[in-house]
């Protein structure tokens, strides 16, 4: 890590409270002129563009796209077939209040490896040779907010940085004019709220920039003035601010605030340009399903295509969340009842575009430097309390990854014969985080940040890299 610690006087092995990056730069600049320093910091340190650390390993991928499916996707209805449930269907389970529920869809085998995928996800099924499917995930909490927050931040309570924040913090941004972490959403934030995408105690630069599918995609990005008027104002501001800066005493924070106006100005035109799909071919749009008449599907497809464009432009971490269907406000895949209708509707909205993203990146040769994660906060129970829904299950669920460094066509881990518990190669969210960090070149044990008197990390004391799914 590049953060420099003061040596503790009493304890040569212990490191003391860190200097902020700014302090480091200042001290490093001690004795040199301040000018170069100011420029350097104004431009990069303050905008969070510089890397906090050199990669610990050779990075396999440059960018990450997380397709998050909030609400809890049923694993036994998507990637983890449980024929036993067909036998048990309708019989009483456990406490006598509930009955077993078979999967209402059929599974077929796909790809060279013959991996079973349910008919719910026909498009993703065609990509299985690129996927490493982990069928033995476990989470800590069968509750949406805690599950979501755990999945994103490695903790079950808010206030900690999200995975995307850690990565952008560590690696900086590749594009000066775009934020490093972007959240593509369609209007609803999953339970747990913005804390899921928060920078926590990391500098605010590393929080997710939310981008809406409809309306103004980003707050305050639409210029309030026409270009000439805005430029006139900016020119005036630049001159006056420079004077203020020297009048008040050379302060690099003022200098970097001035520089931010430059970046803000550029973002106003660049970001809409990146988000704008006009230059995409009709074939590409069709691939993603943008030709649909289904509003939510259209929005989700749009966000997936935007995700590709954003990583093309060098955005480190893009997350896409799902639209809310049927007015459910508890997470889209949360089918405690109407499993068939609900999962089908959600699959319809997301399946094609996720598959398109994989195919599109692959055809552009970008899949090798991008990591795609398809995930959810927990799984669903093999039994039902009301005959047509499944409840929360934290002891087994499925996620998949694709892209650089991933061994395609892999099935990893197993659940028991009814899908209630992960039994083989049990994988925690921390393991997943450790693996993702490794793929972007970071050691999850070394990537830490001092806050509140402690060195904090994404995986806390947990996590081990899942080497079996790596190429």
């Amino acid at each position: 890590m590049s953060i420099i610690y003061e040596k503790s006087r009493e304890c040569p092995g212990c490191v003391g409270a860190p200097l902020t990056r700014r302090e480091v730069l200042k001290q490093a600049a001690n004795g040199f002129g301040m000018l170069a320093l100011s420029t350097l910091m104004a431009d990069e340190a303050y905008a969070g563009l510089v890397q906090a650390t050199k990669p610990h390993f050779k990075p396999q991928v440059k960018n990450v796209i997380l397709c998050f499916m909030p609400g809890g996707v049923s694993h036994m209805d998507t990637f983890d077939p449980k024929p036993k449930l067909a036998e048990l269907n309708g019989k009483l389970s456990g406490d006598g209040q509930r009955t077993w529920l078979k999967c209402p869809w059929t599974f077929n085998r796909y790809g060279q490896a013959g991996i079973p995928v349910s008919e719910l996800l026909p498009h993703i099924a065609t990509c299985v040779d690129d996927l490493a499917i982990i069928r033995s995930m476990v989470s800590g909490f069968p509750l949406h907010p805690r599950g979501n927050i755990l999945f994103h931040t490695g903790r079950n309570v808010g206030g900690h940085p999200s995975l995307g924040s850690w990565i952008t913090y560590a690696l900086g941004s590749e594009n000066k004019n775009l934020p490093g972490y972007v959240l593509l959403h369609t209007g609803d934030i999953p339970p747990g709220g913005l804390e899921n995408f928060s920078n926590g105690f990391l500098p605010a630069t590393h929080q997710a920039l939310p981008v809406r599918a409809d309306g103004d995609p980003i707050d305050n990005l639409l210029p309030a003035d026409d270009q000439i008027l805005q430029q006139t104002k900016l020119k005036m501001l630049l001159a006056e601010d420079r004077k203020f800066s020297s009048m008040a005493g050379t302060d690099d924070a003022v200098e970097s605030a001035i520089a931010n106006y430059e970046m803000a100005y550029r973002m106003q035109s660049l970001v809409p340009d990146v988000l704008d799909l006009d230059k995409e071919s009709e074939a590409t749009k069709r691939l993603y399903g943008l030709d649909t008449s289904n509003k939510e599907k259209g929005q989700y497809s749009l966000q997936c295509l935007r995700a590709r464009r954003l990583v093309e432009e060098g955005v480190r971490f893009v997350e896409i969340t799902c639209p809310v269907l049927f007015g459910q406000n508890n997470g889209t895949w949360d089918q405690h009842s109407y499993l068939k209708r609900g999962h089908e509707a959600n699959a319809l909205v997301t399946d094609q575009a996720v598959a398109a993203l994989i195919k599109d990146l692959k055809s552009r040769g970008m899949l090798e430097e991008t990591l795609i994660i398809w995930g959810t906060e927990f799984g669903r129970t093999p039994d039902t309390s009301n005959g047509d829904g499944r409840d929360h299950l934290e002891t087994a669920f499925t996620i998949f990854m694709a892209g650089g460094g991933i061994k395609g066509g892999t099935l990893y881990g197993e659940t028991d014969e009814i899908g209630e518990k992960s039994v083989e190669n049990i994988t925690t969210v921390h393991d997943l985080h450790a693996t993702i960090l490794q793929l972007v070149g970071l050691d999850h044990e070394k990537l830490t940040y001092r806050f509140g008197g402690r060195e904090l990390s994404l995986t806390d004391v947990h996590g081990k890299v899942i080497s079996q799914i790596l190429a």
């Binding site: 903790r155 934030i189 005036m236 605030a257």
Partner: protein, 1138 residues
């Protein structure tokens, strides 16, 4: 990097998963180990001779120990040594058990361990064979020579730690007593302020010259923004600049310290420490009951310069103070509000017994906030293990945990009753007059009972004997009586049953009648007895409120004060022609005077040896009974009451474990923390029902039982009809009814009614057998009207979330690794050993918060004053003397000016913990008045400006930016206090309590914008407004493009630019120059320089040109001035303190 804290331990029951989890825990041990080795504080860990290689150790830690720990230690570990064998140390393994050496290093084939796990001659572990790879691991390990490493956790909790801790307590600066240092005397310094002496001594030592004084404009702006968060008005600036008296500055300081906006500014600073939020977050973001009252409390406290030690006492134990602070103006108990601070963290509604973390995280957050905010210590680090850096053992954490765990988190009523007292008295008097008046009418009306009963019965029987009377009877009353007769003819519980079934069916003169009558009488007697016996046998009294005693229950609220009745109390109807809505049996009620008054009644902890608690209660308008388990106040377990008359409600007593205290509470709606509930739970009521005043409940009895039934009601009131033997005629029986009623009413009018009387009156009232109308007499009408007028004036009680100690405190067990499922020995409640010279353990009857408060609010506590003066310094100078303002522990920064910190801490305490006096001292210093222009020399020697050669330039906080925009545009509404304004949102989500407010927040200061969890006030968050999760004594000051985008494009900024332009246009400015000058004064607190006027004039003309406006019309162009205003809002000078 080196220390990874197992702050959260996942609870997974799967055996397989435990393997991973314990491996993680052991990994932790390994990482920890390297720290201790490096640090060299502890005894060296124990190595076996062959374990020097770190890969071997790692292999052991990661692979072998988890297998042993999971599968072997249970029978061959510290607790049990089956076959005299232990497997938890290398020596023990080598020594082996009764069969000899378990492991022969390097020789798996000769090791019993391998035979056992391969089920050769032994079957281990007995629960089932290990996985093949686990067996392979053991084999590899033995082959490697059985490397072993004894990690030092055991030592941390024992002696090594004690010595280490003792040394830390002895040596670390922050734990040393605050001794007043000698103030250095600087010869060349003209300032007599000791602050300057200390600062300048350091500067001289470093070879630095102070930057020199600021000009008056700069100084006035700096001072005002720092002290009040608002710019001075141009008039005030001018007043100060023109003031040539030598103490002009000092007087400005005093004016600003006396400003009511001072309190607003410092209240907001304080709320950063208190992780102040007004909703609970998580899925549903429940409302935190009137959290804004806590914010207002802080504004008053800082404005009144409440001594800081008192502020601490109120925060920690405000509900327990013997002499609470009463605010006469508002008629409220101020001290009670302080304790709201415990309640401000986030909380989930889910079952906290099933999900233990919900509760333990709340308490952890309370401990974390308490110790960081008041002591600058990271005590929460000791949740899972002894603190690695500061002398805080885990047992100290659980000593604190016990204090907080045994405090109840409840709603409390702030009103002292003063505001209600006079009105309540009047209502009492009026009620008594109404009762007398009403009783006299009703007693008269009893005359009609017998004739109507006879006449109506006759009509039903088609008998003619009483036909002549009927013509005089009122048809309406005939109708009424007919209905009652119909209704009560079949049910023996009915009052008219004896009449309809016997008297009307039989010839009263017959012999058979007498017999039947006495049989019926005997039936009632027998049935009464049987019910009494049943009740006595099956039900144990938990509380009997009929006597007027609280039976150890705890009451809160204006309505419930004096809400006891021994029976017969009337409830006056507040609308329509009805006089009363009911006559109540004896018990405790919240609505005896008005249902606008509130109440809460809380049981002691329920005994766990019975299956049910039953309550005889009534209630309505969203009053509820709730069951609170382990103080999880957002629990689902509650029912809205819809019983207009007393009836039994049965509540199962769940959670038999002693560790989960359970109590029930009855609350009027304002005290129900679940309301407004989430949409799917809001069955039968809507948000607007919650906003209407009025809610009530009453209770007479509480019983414990195992039978799955509730107690049976008595029948004693029927005895009145059977006195004096069998009636000789229908007339006699009819008049017995009349007499029973009359007797009840007479008793009632004299306020001596018993429960039978109340039964009878209730019967009459329910069946409209007496006229319940205010039109009975002009006097009655007037009395009722007067009552209603007064009732409507009752102020709404002020209810907040606070704390209370209603039970003896209890100690909690230490949780191993912070895991609620691994309780160890109980830890006596007490304070941090390092800060307390007494033996651990508080001798209190309650939770111990009183002692806790005294321990913190103590002049001899080495941290309290230091931490606070450092926070004050931080806000005045932009960084603390200790820059890690929330951490004074060993890993915090050391003070840049330790003597100054001591000096200030000492002054602070000597001056009665007065915050204003300390701040006055700081801002009156020359140091505060230095210019912000640094010298080249200073930039080279001290680039961080830690020696304060010049005043540090820094960006304003989010609130100050928004407030300054409002102040400059003229939109600022300088109103103090009140419920929060929802922040502006583009989309509101009512189901998550994320509502949208006006774009300009009604012009109110940012302090009054609602701090919602999930999505906070967006404009503020862009400028580092903190997430209300943990204590945040020092905010980030980030510089991100979104800030520039907001100031350039945000609707609020644009809107305010227009507002300012509109105000400029109506000013009679004669020239561009004059107007620009006035804009400079409003926005920047200074006159423009000549060159600035020139440039801005050119700019204005350029803008006019762009808008196609001729120079002549410039002064009247809204567009031009809006653009100018907008540009000025975007000047860095506008958002920086310098």
């Amino acid at each position: 990097m080196w220390l990874r804290c197992p702050n959260r331990v996942l609870h997974l029951e799967e055996k397989q998963f435990m393997t991973t989890a314990s491996a993680d825990a052991l990994n932790f041990g390994l990482r920890l180990f390297s720290v201790w080795v490096l640090s060299g504080f502890l005894a060296q860990p124990v190595f076996s001779e062959k374990t020097a290689s770190s890969s071997g150790m790692e292999f052991f830690e990661k692979k072998v120990r988890p297998v042993l720990a999971t599968h072997c230690y249970q029978c061959h570990g510290p607790q049990l040594q089956q076959g005299a064998l232990r497997l938890d140390s290398r020596e023990a393994i080598l020594k082996g058990g009764s069969r000899g050496a378990t492991v022969v290093p390097g020789k798996p084939e000769a090791s019993w361990l391998m035979k056992a796990v391969q089920h050769q001659g032994l079957t281990m572990p007995p629960s089932g064979k290990l996985m093949p790879e686990q067996i392979a691991v053991l084999e590899d390990w033995i082959e490697m020579g059985a490397p072993w490493f004894q990690h030092p956790i055991a030592q941390i909790v024992s002696k090594g730690t004690d010595q280490f801790y003792a040394r830390m307590a002895r040596e670390h600066w922050a734990f040393q007593p605050v001794s007043p240092p000698e103030v250095p005397q600087i010869m060349f310094n003209s300032s007599s302020n000791p602050v300057d002496q200390f600062i300048q001594e350091k500067l001289r030592e470093k070879g630095l010259e102070p930057a020199g004084g600021s000009n008056r404009w700069t100084l006035a702006r700096r001072l005002s923004l720092v002290l009040t968060g608002l710019p001075l008005s141009p008039w005030e600036v001018n007043r100060f600049v023109q003031d040539s008296s030598p103490d002009a500055y000092e007087r400005l300081v005093d004016r600003l310290l006396a400003s009511p906006h001072f309190g607003e500014r410092w209240a907001r600073h304080w709320t950063d420490l208190m992780r102040f939020g007004e909703t609970y977050g998580y899925e549903w973001n429940y409302e935190l009951l009137a959290a804004w009252r806590y914010r207002d409390y802080l504004v008053r406290a800082f404005n009144e310069d409440l001594p800081f030690d008192q502020l601490i006492r109120e925060h920690v134990a405000g509900d327990l103070l013997e002499n609470p602070r009463i605010d006469r103006q508002f008629g409220i108990n101020e001290s009670l509000i302080g304790a709201t601070f415990f309640r401000l963290g986030e909380m989930s509604h889910d079952d906290c017994v099933k999900f233990r973390e919900i509760r333990t995280d709340v308490v952890d957050n309370q401990i974390d906030t308490l110790t960081k905010a008041f002591q600058g210590l990271t005590v929460a680090c000791a949740r899972c293990h002894d603190h690695k850096l500061d002398p805080i053992p885990t047992k100290d954490y659980y000593a604190l945990y016990g204090i907080l765990a045994s405090s109840r988190q409840v709603s409390r009523t702030l009103d002292t009753g003063d505001l209600h007292q006079e009105l309540k008295q009047r209502l009492h008097q009026l009620k008594s007059l109404i009762r007398t008046e009403l009783a006299s009418h009703w007693i008269n009306q009893c005359v009609e009972i017998a004739p109507y009963l006879l006449a109506v019965q006759a009509m039903q029987n088609h008998r003619n004997s009483h036909r002549q009377g009927i013509v005089d009877l009122e048809p309406r009353k005939v109708q009424q009586w007919s209905q009652v007769l119909m209704k009560e003819s079949v049910d023996p519980e009915g009052f008219l049953y004896p009449w309809t079934t016997i008297a009307c069916e039989m010839d009263l003169a017959s012999k058979g009648f007498k017999e039947a009558w006495s049989k019926l009488g005997a039936y009632y007697q027998r049935e009464s007895q049987a019910r009494t016996d049943f009740n006595r046998k099956n039900f144990l009294d938990f509380a009997d409120f009929r006597s007027g005693h609280l039976n150890g229950w705890h009451s809160d609220g204006i309505g419930i004060q004096g809400g006891t009745t021994t029976g017969g109390e009337l409830i006056i109807s507040t609308k329509g022609s009805q006089v009363v809505t009911g006559i109540l049996p004896s018990g405790i009620y919240t609505h005896l005077l008005s249902n606008r008054l509130n109440g809460a009644l809380r049981s002691p902890y329920l005994p766990k040896d019975k299956k049910f608690l039953s309550l005889r209660i009534m209630g309505g308008q969203l009053a509820a009974h709730r069951t609170i388990v382990d103080h999880c106040v957002l629990g689902e377990d509650y029912k809205i009451l819809q019983n207009e008359v007393m009836s039994w409600v049965k509540i199962p007593i769940k959670y038999k474990e002693e560790s989960f205290p359970v109590y029930v509470e009855l609350v009027t709606k304002s005290g129900n923390l679940r309301l407004p509930d989430r949409p799917s739970m809001m069955k039968g009521y809507q948000l607007k029902d919650l906003e209407k005043p009025g809610s009530y409940f009453g209770i007479s009895q509480a019983v414990l039982h195992d039978v799955d039934q509730t107690p049976r009601d008595g029948l004693s009131h029927m005895a009145r009809l059977f006195r004096g033997g069998a009636p000789k005629s229908a007339e006699e029986l009819a008049s017995r009814y009349a007499t029973a009623c009359r007797q009840a009413l007479i008793a009632w009018s004299e306020a001596t009614s018993n429960s039978d009387d109340v039964h009878w009156i209730g019967w009459m009232l329910r069946n409209n057998l007496v006229q319940n109308k205010k039109e009975l007499s002009p006097r009655l009408k007037q009395l009722v009207q007067t009552y209603r007028n007064f009732e409507a004036q009752l102020p709404e009680p002020k209810v907040i979330s606070s704390m209370s100690d209603l039970d003896p405190g209890y100690d909690v067990p230490l949780l191993e690794n912070g895991d609620a499922k691994r309780p160890r020995e109980k830890i006596p409640r007490g304070y941090l050993t390092v800060l307390s010279d007494k033996e651990p353990g508080f001798e209190t009857l309650g939770s111990g918060r009183r002692e806790l408060a005294e321990n913190i609010a103590s002049a001899s506590n080495p941290l309290t004053a230091r931490v606070m003066v450092n926070r004050l310094w931080h806000h005045i100078f932009g960084r603390g003397i200790v820059t890690t303002v929330d951490n004074f522990g060993r890993f915090g920064k050391r003070p840049s000016h330790p003597e100054l910190l001591n000096y200030l801490a000492n002054c602070f305490v000597q001056n009665g913990w007065s915050i204003k006096r300390l701040l006055r001292r700081l801002v009156r210093s020359t140091t505060f008045r230095e210019s912000s222009r640094s010298s080249v020399q200073a930039r080279n020697i001290d680039p961080l400006n830690q020696w304060l050669q010049h005043y540090p330039v820094r960006r304003l906080e989010a609130e100050a930016i928004r407030d300054t925009i409002l102040a400059t545009s003229g939109r600022l509404e300088l109103k103090l206090y009140g419920s929060s304004i929802q922040p502006f949102r583009k989309v509101s989500k009512d189901y998550r309590k994320l509502l949208s407010g006006p774009l300009d927040g009604s012009g109110r200061r940012s302090l009054y914008l609602k701090v919602t969890r999930m999505e906070g006030p967006q404009f503020l968050e862009l400028f580092d407004f903190p997430t209300p999760a943990a204590t945040r004594g020092s905010r980030d000051r980030t510089n991100i493009p979104s800030q520039a985008l907001a100031l350039l494009n945000d609707a609020f900024v644009i809107d305010q630019s227009g507002y300012w332009a509109d105000r400029l246009l109506i000013q009679p400015d004669r020239s561009l120059e004059r107007r620009l000058e006035s804009m400079f004064h409003s926005a920047l607190g200074r006159p423009p320089e000549v060159s600035e006027v020139k440039r801005f004039k050119r700019f204005a003309i350029k803008l006019a040109d762009l808008h196609g406006i001729s120079t002549r019309n410039i002064l009247d162009s809204r567009k031009v001035w809006k653009d100018l205003a907008h540009t000025i809002f975007n000047l860095k000078e506008f958002i920086y303190i310098y």
